[in-house]
């Protein structure tokens, strides 16, 4: 049996089936949504074990809320991203012991960031670069440029205005490009033709 046999069904319809006891719907939702929340958590936290905890917690909240879910009111993936974003924020706050608003502007890229580059290392460099961004910028950049979400949806997830999302992603991308600039040659992106 394919893992997601409900390819034509929307997430909220699947959730309704799940709450009615459909086990295939449980598998389909897991297949669809878990990689997205896990991927986001990994990028934000930079730690696979913690990302698993966050993704598992987020999915558990989805299973719990399923019986009360109102069809058509909110997008399941948007709700789940919001939960994931908040769980990541909580983890980062606990780790740092400072508030989100107290995070400084992007740090200068450390030599360790710019020195750890090659083919596989490009992703590691990106990850390291992302970690230099303030948490909100990081979340916005990941949602926009890696998860591929639109600004209005990101605005709902982060509970800010669309203009604020645009500002966050623009500043984040600029800071990230600056952080990775010294590494361009090693990354293999020195050619202008890219």
């Amino acid at each position: 049996m394919p893992l997601d046999e409900y390819t034509d069904l929307a997430d909220d319809a699947l959730l309704a089936l799940y709450s009615q006891g459909d086990t295939a719907a449980a598998r389909a939702l897991t297949t669809r949504l878990t990689p997205r929340v896990f991927g986001h958590a990994v990028r934000v936290l930079g730690d696979w074990a913690e990302a698993e905890d966050v993704a598992q917690d987020a999915m558990m909240r989805l299973w719990k809320v399923a019986p009360d879910w109102c069809m058509g009111e909110a997008k399941v993936s948007t709700w789940l991203y919001r939960v994931t974003v908040n769980l990541c924020t909580d983890r980062l706050r606990r780790k740092r012991g400072v508030g989100m608003d107290e995070v400084d502007e992007p740090l200068d890229p450390s030599p360790s960031v710019t020195d750890q580059l090659q083919t596989r290392e490009r992703m590691d460099a990106l990850q390291a670069g992302l970690q230099t961004l303030p948490e909100r910028q990081r979340q916005a950049v990941i949602l926009r440029h890696i998860e591929g979400l639109g600004n209005p949806e990101i605005a709902k997830i982060l509970e800010i205005s669309t203009e604020a999302v645009e500002s966050l992603t623009a500043r984040g991308k600029r800071a990230l490009a600056q952080a990775l600039a010294p590494a361009c040659k090693k990354l293999g992106y020195e050619d202008d033709s890219i």
């Binding site: 990689p35 999915m59 299973w63 490009a177 890219i194």
Partner: protein
């Protein structure tokens, strides 16, 4: 910003866009099979849990007045009050007067005005 600086910025941005494209397809940020299995296990475990139906309106009202005992007392008090209202015990008015000290009466007409059959501020209300 010089033309050279602008070229550098453009190159950095292009490099970053290319990195993002790679990151979208980066398999290393995919969850492991064992983790996916754990999530499915959670989902099925939650699904098999007995569903707790929300309490009915009647149950909620009963709970508000203190459960069945409270509801019983409320019904008894209501019945007693109703019965006293339609069939007061013999001695009740006398005892009330004793308690209040005197009989109280209120006259709606000014003293000295007799019932002449003319009311309504001097208008003759009699028919015919």
């Amino acid at each position: 910003m010089t033309a050279s600086d602008k070229d550098t910025v453009d190159r950095d941005m292009n490099a970053l866009d290319a990195l993002f494209v790679e990151a979208v397809n980066d398999a290393s940020t995919q969850p492991s099979e064992s983790f996916m299995a754990r999530v499915v296990t959670d989902a099925l475990a939650r699904q098999s849990m007995p569903k707790i139906a929300p309490p009915s309106l009647w149950v909620q009202i009963t709970a508000m007045v203190g459960g069945w005992q409270g509801m019983g007392g409320l019904v008894a008090a209501t019945c007693a009050g109703f019965w006293i209202g339609i069939n007061p015990p013999e001695g009740l008015p006398t005892q009330l007067e004793t308690f209040l000290g005197s009989e109280t009466s209120v006259s709606l007409l000014e003293d000295g005005i007799e019932d002449t059959g003319i009311f309504g501020f001097g208008w003759d209300m009699e028919e015919g």
